[in-house]
Assembly symmetry: C2
Homo-oligomer: 565 residues x 2
């Protein structure tokens, strides 16, 4: 990574904007058309690493070591010995396999042991990409139509064969791979764009369409898919909706609960739910599709999605700055909403520890010369680059003259834009630099968001587990995340994994979040990893009501068992 | 109303913008800070009139005549003789009344017949403001806490006393007043703002807070409530959420399904659903609150709402123009999204017939001299008035030079802005000008949206019911609505109500909408008025699944009976 400090103008120069000579030395803000595929690989890595999540949520779950070799992936049944196979589920028989082969054809039913290739292929469907979860499915089905999905589920429901719905298998909490021998129902062959309305921006597509392809299709018409995340090159929009993925555009475009206009889904008994509306307004009864958004495949399988795509912004600007306190961060966020209002598309927070981690792990020079306890990254996206730059400059001048922001830089070309984003996106990968990391993905009301990091640091200081010398397991406690969405990533960087550290962290972190009515899973869902901890974010009443819904839709419990609530 | 044509610059001058003399004669676009309360009264009238809806949905339902005197309001039980009182519901006893008085105090339990005042007060709770529906409730309860609501419902559920939840009673489909002797549970005493987060813009408030008060509270902090509608001065946010109100800001800020972050609600058995999250991201289980959004009080009663408020826009511009075809309207809408993108806040459609109706009824001069088959109103709202004007000008120059738009004007001050809005908002009131009107509030996919109006007109021409002479019942068929939301108001202006007209309209209109997978109720909900017609927008499967949900939450069916699905 190239050092970027020298090529970026210091924002403090903006204070002297009346000085003609100084102003001439300032390069004008450059408007950058953001490429469709923006550092996709690093994002994928980053987001997924962020989600490897609380090491201690499963004591035996493997933590990726900082080394390079891939560890042998334990079966989930070994990592979670408390989860027993539900004996009510039937084991797969030759007759069952024959039924599915007759229905789908040989190529769309991958059976274990038939050939060496088939077994290797099965392994890919059984394991998550983090190599943290590994199931024992002996059959993968790849239907190519909603009717086929319906027939598969009706058969499974009747025979009590458990089913694991699977999209791009990029999930982060073990929701997308089987625990035992659940049949994997993979949506990848249902991958057609059904329609795109050029005037309204409404896209209707099969669930198995890759997110990036959906976005590229929208881009051809001048629109943007209202969701963006690191795994966009392999995740599927059906899986995105099923997990209510949050991602990078939520601050600007809102959640899938607002943007998804309709769904087609298949219930466990084979019923096709035909709710694939393309209307923005439709007040004719309960909005049942919402249950499937974030239902993680436990109520049925989403087979198609109708979604409204906003206008694509041709102009993108990125700024990075240092601040003296979290109070200042809050003020800067508030001012950014005021000044940048309709063009603000990202407001990211990084504390100094997270930036040190990034610098130490990558050798990159940080954008600012001075050191500050907090850093923020702001992105604007708008339809007019001159207007956007003017708004951004006015905002920056304001926050600097009011001493809300201490120093900052603005990207002038795509390379600089990427470098600034790397300071935020590179943290997660860097967080294991000292040996390992305990990670939490949390929602906390903004005013208290950073308190958790500060208190956690104090906790490790006072219990003697954190220090500069190697006899202390904890090296540092850092915080960063999607400030605009109140989404904090708490990272405890350690020299080695240690039961004492885990005991100090849990249930303390969850209790802390619970007291502030936060969420123990901001955007990654529950899956297998968070199932046991949902009580910290949801009351007994809510859990009872959720179980009631599950019983209504899936009385036999065949859909994605052992997970969720 | 002042004629505004002379004081507004004709947009065709914009073509000659290089001509210095011409340009000087153009007054610059004026940026107007939109007042918090914008022609509220006329809006209320307008929106409510729009919703008086398909006259033929209830043959006996009174249609407001063009005359001034108020008709005697029939009991709903007389207007809808097919609906019988459900005999399983208990009739109110003295013991019941005593229980509620002990619980709430005398003042919060209004009982029929106790005093003359009480009886008059009861009449207000029994009738909707359109004077179209009239119930026979003998008791109105006004709890002041969630706990009281819980105790009331638990008691009613046990005793099988039916309950009619009521907010501001501004509903348009008969959902907010009883049909028979259901107890009215009015939320008006639960009217406190619980919290407002100045940084995130998240408002938490009791369900009984008036929409306008919620918006004014947000405005004090520089935010805007993400919903705006004509009845804002009297409707309550709990009722807005319960009916999934659409309103004027949906195009810009999206639906309540995306903006409501949390709810507190009470189930029929008294269970308090504590889902009052203030988090933008919270992926911990089924999003049950969504069922209550648009559930119209049939599953439980919303007692508090948490909602995210966007930044308030200080600059507002309005333009009005004429177009030669619906194809041009579609193109103009597409271009407006491209050019105005993040600042577009309204795109309204009016056909020439609707503008003639408005002119004939009010005597107002229309903004443009020439006559065009279609007119559009565009509003922009942004944070920088210079930028917004520049974007709007660029858009207008483009659509005029491309001959998408034939002529147009831009408001230069608040009076002109109001006058332009009046051309859209005055239609509904004007639609009864010739004697009466049959009205439909529909969602139709944009490309076909206006076809319904054209086909309906042809229908009445060919069946001989429409003509210029008085022996024809139909005077004109006009269309207008929220183009940006695909929301059409089809109005059949008649000289007199006539069974032959009704027979030509229904079920033809509903079948037409059904074929295009449109919605028979875009934003007003089902209530009593649309209950029988929901099958035109929802499949048997969907209706079965909805009834399943109703049975889960309200097995005794005490909540808002006789309505919805």
């Amino acid at each position: 990574m190239p050092p970027i400090n020298r090529c970026l103008p210091a924002l403090r120069c903006l204070r002297l904007v009346d000085n003609a000579a100084q102003r001439q030395s300032l390069r004008p803000l450059t408007r950058i058309a953001r490429p469709t595929i923006r550092h996709h690989q690093s994002r994928l890595h980053h987001t997924q690493a962020e989600a490897s999540s609380s090491a201690s949520t499963a004591d035996n779950a493997p933590q990726s070591p900082p080394a390079t070799s891939k560890p042998e992936v334990k079966y989930t049944s070994e990592s979670y010995p408390n989860i027993k196979r539900n004996s009510k589920f039937k084991e797969l028989s030759a007759d069952d396999v024959q039924y599915f082969k007759d229905l789908l054809g040989n190529e769309s039913a991958v059976v274990d042991g038939v050939t060496k290739d088939a077994s290797a292929e099965l392994e890919g469907f059984n394991s998550d990409w983090m190599r943290k979860y590994r199931g024992q499915a002996r059959l993968v089905l790849k239907p190519s139509s909603t009717e086929q999905v319906s027939k598969i589920l009706a058969y499974c429901n009747k025979k009590l064969l458990a089913v694991n719905p699977q999209g791009g298998n990029t999930g982060l909490v073990g929701g997308s791979v089987p625990v035992y021998d659940e049949i994997v129902l993979n949506l990848s062959r249902m991958n057609k764009i059904r329609s795109f309305d050029d005037v309204s921006g409404i896209l209707v597509a099969d669930a198995g369409v890759i997110l990036q392809q959906a976005d590229e299709h929208a881009a051809k018409h001048g629109y943007i898919f209202p969701l963006d995340l690191g795994a966009k090159g392999s995740c599927q929009i059906g899986g995105n909706v099923a997990t209510n993925a949050g991602g990078l555009r939520l601050l600007r475009y809102g959640s899938l609960h607002g943007n998804v206009l309709g769904l087609e889904a298949v219930l466990p008994d084979g019923t096709i739910v035909d709710d694939l509306s393309t209307l923005r307004k439709n007040n004719t009864g309960y909005d049942l599709k919402q249950l499937f958004i974030g239902g993680e495949g436990t109520l049925g399988i989403i087979t198609a999605v109708s979604i409204i795509c906003p206008q694509r912004s041709p102009a993108v600007n990125v700024a990075y700055f240092g601040l003296e306190s979290y109070e200042n961060v809050l003020q800067a966020f508030k001012e950014s909403k005021k000044h940048l209002s309709e063009i603000l598309s990202a407001f990211e927070l990084m504390d100094v520890g997270s930036q040190h981690l990034y610098r130490n792990a990558t050798g990159a020079k940080l954008p600012l010369e001075g050191e500050y306890p907090f850093y923020c990254l702001i992105e604007t996206s708008g339809s007019n680059s001159d207007h956007d730059s003017e708004k951004l400059n006015a905002f920056l001048e304001h926050v600097m003259s009011e001493e809300i922001v201490a120093d900052g830089v603005v990207a002038q070309d795509e390379t600089q834009l990427q470098s600034l984003w790397a300071c935020r996106e590179g943290i997660s990968e860097a967080s294991q630099h000292w040996g390992g990391v305990y990670k939490y993905d949390l929602s906390i009301p903004l005013p208290e968001l950073y308190d958790l990091v500060a208190e956690c640091r104090e906790r490790f200081k006072s219990n003697g587990l954190m220090g500069e010398t190697d006899d202390h397991p904890v090296k540092d406690v850092v915080g960063y995340g999607h400030m605009g969405d109140s989404n904090l990533h708490l990272n405890v960087a350690v020299r080695r994994y240690d039961k004492a550290v885990e005991k100090a962290l849990e249930p303390w972190v969850y209790e802390w979040v619970q007291k502030r009515q936060g969420s123990i899973s901001a955007e990654h869902g529950l899956g297998l990893a968070k199932k046991e901890y949902v009580g910290y974010s949801r009351s007994e009443t809510m859990l009872r009501l959720m179980k009631q819904i599950k019983d209504v839709y899936d009385p036999n419990g065949i859909m994605n068992p052992y997970k969720y609530i």
